[in-house]
Each structure stands twice: as structure tokens, then as C-alpha cells.
Amino acid sequence: MKRSRLRRGPCAALLLLDLSLSASVRAESLTPPPSASVEVVPPELTQFVEAHYPEPAEQQRLEADVVLSLEIDENGGVTRATVVEPVGNGFDEAAQAAASAFQFRPARRGDRPIKSKILYRYSFRLRSAPVEEKVTTATLSLSVVVAGGKVPIAGAKVRVGQRGRLIANAVTDTNGRFQLRDLEPARYDITLEADGFEPYTVAETLSAAEEAALTLGLVEKSSDTTVIVHGERPTREVTRRTISRRELSLVPGTSGDALRAIQNLPGVARPPALSGVLVVRGSADRTTPVFVDGMWIANVYHFGGLSSVIPTEMLDEINFYPGNFSVRYGRALGGVVDAHFRETRQDGRYHGFAQVDLIDARVLLEGPVPGVSGWNFIGAARRSHVDAWLGPLLNGRDTYVAAAPVYYDYQFIADHRFSERSYIRAGFIGYDDRFKLISKGAAFGGQLDTVSSTVGIGIVYQNRLSNKAKLDLTFSAARSHQHLQISSVAFDIVSLGMIGRGELEYRLQPRATLRVGYDLLMAPYDVTGRLPEDAGSNAPDVGSPVTTPGQKLDRDAFFFVPAAYAEMDMRPTSRAQIVSGVRYDYTRETGRHDIAPRLTARYDLRSGFPKTTLKAGSGLFFQAPGLIETALNHDHSPLRSQRSFQNSLGVEQQLSGQVKLSVEGFFNLLDNLVSRSVDPRGDLRYNNEGKGRIFGSEVMLRYEPDDRFFGWVSYTLSRSERTWVPGEPSRLFDLDQTHILTALGSYELGKNWTLGMRFRYVTGNLFTPCSGGLFSSTGTSYLCVNGPLNSERLPPFHQLDIRVDKRWKFKDFSLGAYLDLINAYNRKNPDLIQYNYDFSASKPQSASLPIIPSLGLRGEF
């Protein structure tokens, strides 16, 4: 169920669009009358423009309603605005000028946009009454849409009651709107019903003089592609890219996996083959954390990046911040991915689905918690079945699969809404990957044994304390076990990570909001193992790790990183927004205190359609050294936190009601990066001598989802450089990718068929060529004699993915099937350079998947 809450401030009341007029709005097609079988949809106002209040009229405290006749073309633009009922005093001209800049979703006959003509009343109301007359009533405006989009639902039945007394019983207009005025301050029950949609009831408390505008989304019956969006949170970052669940589940090439879909956004590099790591704006992997309900997901993807550990069906939309994010987030040099579990359906019925594809099988059940009133739950589980076919494939004379690769995960959440103001959600998740293989065909072979296992609980509590204050609290705890053994290299870490977050938001003034919060990370951990000695940054090839004495790890410690932050969100004018904040982090392991001031600003150069917004941000970001470096750093002087000074400047341009262009440049300076080099005594030591700089630009042209189509084209041009040893020249970073282009779209063909395509082009990865071989008698193998570091690139990567979805709807359930054709033209994209035994010959080698038709089936009720 979508429920979006938009409240108008007092100043907005001046020119409040009189929605009650909608009933008198009519569409007059200038084209020949349609046939009876083709439905004509009237135009919908998508961009309202505020009129200038005539000064003489304002001085005389005059108010007026101007009725206009608007002619709207096929693109939704107003071609002519004529005053039907002149009122004088400058109102007519002002209304005419403003209405000429309106933007509509054009009227349609069937799927075809057509010209139209409508009547429109523009109301001029003074900002405040000339005499201090206390307003004692409230206004309730409803906009009813299809959940997950902006498509209005006309004719939806609306019942408004108070303590069992029916206050209003009406239907929404052609724009899905309904308004009720002169309501007493009280709590009201609002019930919505529409054919083909789940009924929905919500309670709303109105205070005196309040003008509550609610956007409510109705969920289609037996739909799995709806998205629940709890209003539009105010933007606190320079750039927040949001992908709805419908988009997430239909992006080709991802098999409907939400967190893999993020890799299609600007600024996100193509990860190395079979890794699935997030590389954002030229930063290193593991510098962009992923949070789900505040819980840090350390290993986002199952083995080989096949799928993420949280199924898409459990998630609400995903917010991705590629940089210059709010002080709410920290411990990250790259970006942040912030996902949330979705709110449960509250229709009192049970829903669920079962799905199977080539990789895994999954089930989900959702409904009321038996015997507990007001509580609902979602439970899901998934298990891979690649072990059924991959195990036998790997078995051979020199290879024995002791435990074929298998993963599973499970999630359970239950939630309860105590009132419209307070909400709680609690649950647990778990995920597990295992694989064991014994290979005796190589010296660096032997037993390969991996286990990655996590079990965690989490709780979210939200309370709108008052109309000015809001409280968000989250807590999560997760026990994680990571084990890796390859030959004599072994690594084990068991940790209990606990994250507590809290944020209090308080509106000091209509244009100033203060947020304060804390962010605690505590993690007692025990790490043991035997790792090959790190030969140092930029070190030549040292060969097999088994032939050099390893470094023993045995550390039982407590990782404690408390943080606090404060942020002021100011809107000095209706066009400007400035968010300034500061974050304080303490890292117990290193004893370091980090203070990170950040500033972001947005300014609407043009607030009417087409809206143009300038945006900029600057700030400091810190990330403590990694656990391995910390554990292996035996020096007496602790490492400092790595630091990034991020700057960005961009513009957002609305091109139509659905299409938006975003262009952004970024420039990040990195320092205190953990490096490893020889100290004056000749010993290898960890230090903070690494530096870097990253700059580039991102462009995103996006078509916002409507009822049939969504898609975007994203392009990133960037350069990422590093210097690990002082005095050495700067060189390109290992994961630098100059050009990243993604174009994707999904179109509903009709009759429940959906077709999607994705094309990607990415500059080839850097590599250091081998200029020859050096024989190590200890390892009985040759080592690569490095040529210039990162001096060559692999051929570019490009790939086309195609996805077809089909649904069959029945009375009580539906069936769905999809075919995700990955790498449709079977491009052999090189992922590495393979050398012969003495490095005298080489050729590009692909480690990516060949053409894969991934077929999935799904039944749901």
C-alpha cells in the first residue's frame, strides 16, 4: 500500500489549487470523436506554477477566482490560456501568465496523446487574514493513485468517518482527487475502495488550520510489482538515486535481484568478474556500505555475485547515494546504499508466492500474525540448487567436490502500526554460503573451503511525536562467521556486530529543520588465521602464497565506533535548500577522533515547469582501516582513519512530466589511505601514506515509471588515481573505468507481456603487463616480471541483456514466467590476461558467463 503524505505550509495556502474545481474540469478533444470502444483520459496537471499576486490587490486585501480556458497540446504544454470570467485587479493577467507555464500529462485516447481543452479555476487567496481571525477548521485533500506510480484512480470510493459517524461518502474525480473542507480538528478514518484494488483504511488526525494533502496508493489485487513509498523524504544529499521495486524486479540481466540492479546507476563501475562488489565513483571496493533497515550487510552477494542475500520481494525502494551523502551515514569513503524492508500488507488476508529458476528456489508468505491483533508478517526463504549440477561438473581426477557450492537465506519480519504516528517492525535474517573442494592438480591447490554465514535480528521504531517532531530508532545485532581456507592460507573471523541508530527530527521553523542522531557500531570479534605476508603496495609478483612464511593472526578484540551527528536543513527561500551538518566518529581500535563537516545545497533556478535545479555539495568522509590491516598492524603507532574530501556540482533539468536529466561533476581528494611500504629500517609497515584523487562526471536521463514504461540512460566519465608511496608518480587506480554507459528500459506490451533490454559498455579493466618471467625454484614456477603498473587495458566490455515477462492472472492467484537472456549476443568479454607458464605468451581470457538463458517461474496468491 502506498501512502504518501505531503503537507502544505502556510505560505502555500496563498495560491492553493482548488481541487474541488476538478469536478468541473472537462476535457474537450479537438480531434474527431473517438469510437465508443476507445477510452479518453483527460489531461492531468503535473506541474503547477505559482502566480504572482497582484500587488495593488494584495494591498487592498482582495481575493479572487479566475476561470480560464486552457488548450493543451499532445506534449502536455499549454498552448493557449484564455480568461473565461474576468475579475480584474490584475488577477486575470497573473492567472493567465501562470497557467501558460503549467505542464500536464496530455489527454489520451487509448495510448495516443491528443490535444485537449479544459476549464480551470485559479484561486488567489491572501497569505493570512487581514484580521486575526483564528482558523478553527481543517482541510483534507486526497490524491488516490495506483501504488508504485502516479497513475490516478478515478471513481475510487472514499468514506470519511469520525468515531463511527459518516462525515463524507464520495468518489474521486477523473484525476483521482477528492477534497473535504471545514473539518473539525479530530481523528478521521478514511476508507478507500476501487475495483481491482485492495481496499485500504487509514486514520488521519487533523489539527486546526491544517491543510493535509495525502497521496494514497492502492495495491492492485494479486500484484507483485507494487512499491510502497512512505512519502517523499526531503532530499538531504546532493544526489539520491532511487529505484522502485518494480524497476528493481524488471531490470534485465539481474534476474530481478534488487541489489544487483544498483550496478546500472551512474557512478557505479562494473565489478570484477564473479565478485559482485560495489565500486562507486572510482573508490575501492568495500568503501560503499549496504544497509538494510540499518543493519550493515557485510557480504551483500551470495557466492560469485549470483544474487544478493536479501530478496527483492522483501524490500521497499532502494536509495543509493554515490557521494556527498548526509551526516547520517559515515564510515564510508565511497557511497552508501540504504534499503529498507517494506511494510506488510494490511488487508487481513494471506499472500505468498513460490518461485524457481536456474539458480535457486524461493518462497514467501505474508499476512496477519495469528492470534495477535494488528500485527502482520512477511517470511521468506531461498536455497540455491546449483550444487545439483555444478558439483558433478567440477568433479574430476584431480578435483573432488566435498561440498558443492550452496547458499540459502531466510528473512522474517513482523510489523505493527500502533497509530498513524507510531510504527514498529522487528525481525531476523540469515544467510549462508558454503563450498568445499579438494584439488590436487596444483601446488597451490589442496583444500578450498569457504563458509560465510550470518544470523541477525533487527528492530525499527518510528514515531511522529508531533507535527514538528519525528523519532526514528533502529537496532540490529548480527553474528557472522567467515571462513576461508585455501591450501595453507586460512582465515576465520567470528564477530557479533551491533548497530544502534537514532534520529530526532524537529522542525524549528517552517523553513528550518534540525536533525540530531547517534550511530553506534560495536563488534566484539575473534580473528584467527594464517595469511600470506603482504609484500607491500606496488610490490612485484611474489608467487604462490604457500611458499612464503605466512603471518599468523590471533586477535580477540572489540571494535567500537560510536558516532553522533547534527544536521540543519534550511530553506531560506522557496527555491533554496541548504543542509549543513557535522558528524563525529570515534574509533576505539585506533584511538582516533574524526570530525566530518558536510554541506549540501540545492537551488531551483526555475521552480515551475520545466524545473531546473542546481545542486552542490562538499564535505569530509572517514573510514577506519580495515580489519585485516588493523589486525596485522603490529606497529606501536596506530593507523589513522582514511579520509575523502568529496565535492560535487550538478544540475537537474526536468524535460517533461516523466523525463528528467541529471548532470553532475565530482572531485574527490583522498588521503590517509592505508598503504604498506618499507620503513627506514627496511621493514614493511602499514602506514597512512596513500593518497588519491578522483574526478569525473555523471549523466542520467531517466524516464520515471509510468503504467507501461520505465528506463534510463546513464553515463559516467571518470578518472581515479592513487599514490601509495610518497614521491612515486600518481597512477591509475586498479578499478578505474573511464567510460561506463548503461541504457535500459522495460515496456509493458499489453496482455501482461513485458519486454526489457539492457545494454552496457564499459572501458576495459586495467592490468599490469608481464614483460617476462622469473623462475622461483622454491615455488617451481615462474613469477611475472611486471611491466609498467596498470599501464594497459583489457578490451572494452559490452553486453546486451534481454528480459521477457509474462503473467497469467486467475481469480485467486497468478502465474508468472520470465526469461532473462544474459549476454544475448554471446560477447566474450575479457576479464583477465592469461599467460603461459613462463610469461612468454599471453591472451585475453573471459571469466564471465557466456550466453545464459535464465528461466524463472512464479506462482502467487
Binding site: P272, L274, S275, V277, D285, R286, L390, L393, L394, G396, R397, T399, P405, F435, L437, I438, S439, K440, G441, A442, A443, G446, Q447, L448, D449, L484, I486, S488, F491, R530, L531, E533, P540, V542, V546, T547, P549, Q551, K552, G626, H634, R676, V678, G682, D683, L684, G773, L774, S776, S777, T778, T780, S781, Y782, K828, Q834, N836, D838, A847, S848
Partner: protein, 362 residues
């Protein structure tokens, strides 16, 4: 900064995908077991680990397989060898920490390296013979860096070698590699990888622990223990022929060794012969201050024909001793005459053992 553990996971994933053929990691390069150029197979230290104040002797095993063994016996190429040493406990403890020292050493060599006069050169710095002696300094342990993560305190010595089917030249200007070059004596043109091998060997000196070379007790061919008896004719090889019991014929090779005789074979259904190094399981010693035993593996080489596996694991720290560590030999499809087969047995700390025998393909 690379994250070692993450990289290892990625490596594991890649290895698995390649092993399963999922990612198409096909390899059509020549197998490393195929000897058809100048190759270094092993360096055997004796003792296998250093001892403070004691000289260790390094024995280099190389094969010039440019020509077939029969021809090589008649017309062997002149091979020049040079050793450069004197590098103990270099910065970073890695071999590349020795390069500045090697560059200085090369500057003191004659431009034609083998003409360098060895009189007056301290022991352990330079030699032109297959064997090289490293006098381990008596203070190697006290001068070694001590890292808290080390399982055992140790010192490390490196010796670098160059083997050249041509003329070795000193190149002090090579600062990040072994400062030697191999050229054609007549034209001065540089020799490529088929005629020139550079490498290094590592000698660890442990505080309170020693490493022993693995013991290669013998070689079996198709489950028959090979007898390195000398012969003048096929008739002198009766004992080996009897042991083979008809599994294969036996003949006398041109180098006067009793050798199995196998027919050439092409196409499917050809017989293959298991080459099996007999290894004493106790060769897998316990690692210093660790519960695990050391890794042992064997490498297989042949001058003609091929092996199923180039490398076979003999002892794994987790799985223990692996009895099934032989590799199948496939004869060539033509009558190659004498084929040399080599097996090296290695441990992860630099210990080595070498065995070889001949097979007559006729």
C-alpha cells in the same frame, strides 16, 4: 589497498568457475611439463634450510631440451651459468629487496660474465658452475626483522641464477630484475626465453628448527620400480624386463640405461603409463610452531609425449598425505627414440629432490 581476504574469495570463485569450465577458462598454451627449450627444473639446497655460520650448497638442475635427447647427447649446446648471491635479510624480506645489491654486484663483473675472475670474490657472491655455496652468516637470525605475526623467527637468504644458451653479459643498469643478459656471442642479439632463464632460490634459516629435503625413494613406471642399471645392450636389462612382467618392453638407451620401451601411438585408445614418485610420507614435516604439516608436490616433465597433469599435490596441510600423486605419461605419436622424463619433489620451504629416467619410444 588491496584487501587480501576479499581478493582470495574472488580468486577462489574464479578458480572454481575455471575448474568447472563455466567461464570458459580454456588453456591452449603449451603445457609446462613439455620440455622443448632451455629449462631450469629445480634447485636442491643441502641442507634444505640454513644454519647460522654453516654453508649450504645449492645444486641447479637444468635441461636444454632444444634438441631431442639423442641429438643433444651428440651435439650439446654450450650453456653458461652464473650465480649472484650475498643477499641476506633484504628489505621487505622478499627477493626483490635484493635487486639494488645485485646491481652493484653486476657492476663489478666482467662484461662477459664467465670471464670474471673469481679470485678475491668473497664466497657466496658469485659463481659460474651448476652448484653454488651460500655461507649463511652467523648473525643472520639476530639481524633478521622480527614480525609479531611470524609463526617462527627466521632469516632469509637469496641466490639468483642465470642459465644461458649463449653468452652471459653483465647489465648493472637492470635495476628491477636480475642484472644479467644472454646474447648471441656472434651477433650480440639478445636471446629469448627459449635460451635464457633467470631465477632465484630462497634459503630460510629458522630459529630452532630445520627443514629437511623431501625424500624421493624411487620412481615407478606403470607400477614397476625402475632400476637405473647400466647396460650395453637390451640383453643387459633382463631384471627390469622380468619386473615389468610384460606390462612394457625394456631396452638399453643410448646413454646406457635400462629403459622402458613403449610404442608410439596416435588417436584415441592409446595406452598411458603411470609415472609415480615413491615418497616417504614422513617427508611432510610439521611446520614450525604450527599443527599443520608442510605442503609437498611433484612436478612432471618430458622431452616428448605428454603428461596428464603437470603438477600433483603429495601432501596437503588439511587433507594430509595423498597417495594418489602419480601422473600418466602419454607417448608421442611418432618414434621419438629416447625420451627423458623428469620428476621433481618439492616442499613449500624450498626443499627439493629430483629424479629422472628415459623411455624408448620405438
Amino acid at each position: 589497498m588491496k584487501h587480501g581476504i576479499a581478493f582470495s574469495f574472488r580468486l577462489a570463485a574464479l578458480a572454481i568457475s575455471c575448474a568447472g569450465g563455466v567461464a570458459g577458462c580454456d588453456n591452449d598454451f603449451e603445457a609446462p611439463s613439455q620440455l622443448d627449450s632451455l629449462r631450469v627444473l629445480a634447485v636442491r639446497p643441502e641442507p634444505a634450510s640454513g644454519r647460522p655460520g654453516v654453508t649450504s650448497k645449492l645444486a641447479l638442475t637444468f635441461v636444454d631440451a632444444q634438441a631431442r635427447p639423442d641429438e643433444a647427447a651428440l651435439h650439446p649446446r654450450e650453456i653458461q651459468i652464473a650465480w649472484l648471491g650475498g643477499c641476506h635479510n633484504p628489505p621487505t624480506r622478499q627477493y626483490f629487496g635484493c635487486f639494488p645489491l645485485l646491481s652493484q654486484l653486476a657492476a663489478r663483473l666482467s662484461p662477459r660474465v664467465v670471464e670474471t675472475k673469481t679470485e678475491g670474490v668473497p664466497p657466496g657472491f658469485f659463481a659460474t658452475t651448476p652448484d653454488f655455496e651460500i655461507p649463511v652468516p652467523s648473525d643472520i637470525l639476530t639481524k633478521a626483522a622480527s614480525m609479531p605475526g611470524d609463526p617462527v623467527h627466521f632469516g632469509v637468504s637469496y641466490a639468483f641464477f642465470a642459465v644461458c644458451a649463449g653468452e652471459l653479459r653483465a647489465r648493472p643498469d637492470f635495476v628491477n630484475r636480475v642484472p644479467l643478459d644472454c646474447v648471441d656471442p656472434a651477433s650480440g642479439a639478445a636471446r629469448d626465453h627459449r635460451d635464457f632463464v633467470t631465477g632465484y632460490t630462497t634459503l630460510y634459516t629458522y630459529d630452532g628448527f630445520d627443514n629437511e629435503n623431501p625424500v624421493l625413494e624411487g620412481l615407478r613406471f606403470n607400477d614397476v620400480a625402475l632400476d637405473p642399471a647400466q647396460c650395453e645392450s637390451d640383453d643387459d636389462c633382463a631384471s627390469l624386463r622380468d619386473a615389468a612382467g610384460g606390462a612394457f618392453d625394456v631396452g638399453c638407451s643410448p646413454s646406457h640405461q635400462c629403459a622402458p620401451v613403449v610404442p608410439p601411438c596416435a588417436g584415441k585408445g592409446c595406452p598411458k603409463y603411470l609415472v609415480y614418485p615413491e615418497v616417504d610420507p614422513s617427508s611432510a614435516e610439521r611446520m614450525p610452531n604450527e599443527a599443520a604439516t608442510e605442503i609437498l608436490w611433484s612436478n612432471y616433465y618430458t622431452t616428448d609425449g605428454s603428461f596428464d597433469a603437470d603438477t600433483e599435490l603429495v601432501n596437503d596441510p588439511a587433507s594430509g598425505f595423498i597417495a594418489d600423486h602419480g601422473s600418466f605419461f602419454h607417448p608421442p605419436p611418432y618414434a621419438a627414440g629416447t625420451v627423458s622424463l623428469w620428476v621433481t619433489l618439492n616442499d613449500q620451504r624450498g626443499g627439493a629432490a629430483v629424479g629422472s629416467f628415459e623411455v624408448l619410444v620405438r
